[in-house]
């Protein structure tokens, strides 16, 4: 089964619950994806949280962030688009497992769950375009 759905959300922490609900709803349409729904929802929500926390420093904004979920030929792609502070991929570091601290934990989770995490620069309408992919 192939699917493709997208939705815009306000860039604020209270949107995270709506983003999870959207992701759960889309993922539930595929039995393949449903088997690991919790993990996929966590990865997407952590990426969205990073946008609120880091691309906008938690500051109020009228900007929206876009979430797009595509599943085609057993390839899942979860994309996030925002117009916040440009991300410098080299500065994104997952938590060192020896450090018992929370910083970087979300990035670590994303890396554990997804096959690939890439910042693309081809979408001129957006500042940041993060693509999380996983093959099933």
């Amino acid at each position: 089964m192939n699917l493709e759905e997208e939705k815009d959300f306000k860039v604020e922490s209270s949107s995270l619950k709506e983003i999870r609900s959207f992701a759960r709803e889309v993922i539930s349409k595929s039995t393949v994806l449903s088997a690991c729904s919790d993990d996929l929802v966590l990865a997407l929500a952590e990426a969205a949280q990073n946008i609120v926390k880091h691309a906008y420093n938690g500051q109020p904004t009228d900007d929206l962030l876009k979430v797009k979920i595509s599943f085609k030929d057993n390839d899942l792609s979860m994309e996030l688009f925002d117009k916040g502070k440009p991300v410098v991929p080299a500065n994104i570091k997952p938590r060192n497992l020896e450090d018992i601290k929370a910083g970087g934990l979300g990035t670590f989770f994303i890396g554990q769950i997804m096959d690939e995490v890439v910042f693309k620069t081809t979408k001129v309408d957006w500042v940041n375009h993060l693509v999380l992919t996983k093959k099933f």
Binding site: S13, L16, K17, L42, L105
Partner: protein, 99 residues
């Protein structure tokens, strides 16, 4: 997220409920940290927490560390399957006190 606190035999048990993400971590800290400041032993009951992300895990880490600094203890009780999965993904099952 909602919560309740029950005090019994010098142990404060914080029952958390719902989904714990960045939007509610301040509220969770406001409940747990004053109990630790009062040097109470704290149990955090997680049986009704259906979702926890890295922000929620950070509350558990900070609570654990603060308890150690103050010479008291935080124990996680009745951890739901979904929360346990995230704790294990973070490789914290040997660090936090799980019961």
């Amino acid at each position: 997220m909602s919560y309740k606190v029950i005090e019994e035999n010098s142990i404060s048990t914080v029952y958390l409920d719902g989904e714990i993400d960045m939007d509610v971590t301040d509220k969770a800290k406001e409940v747990i940290m004053p109990l630790l400041d009062a040097k109470k032993e704290v149990h955090i009951n997680l049986k009704d927490v259906q979702y926890m992300d890295s922000s929620g895990i950070s509350v558990l880490i900070e609570s654990h560390q603060k308890a150690e600094e103050l010479g008291t203890k935080v124990t996680l009780k009745e951890i739901s399957k979904s929360v346990l999965k995230v704790i294990m993904m973070a490789k914290l099952e040997q660090v936090l006190n799980l019961d």
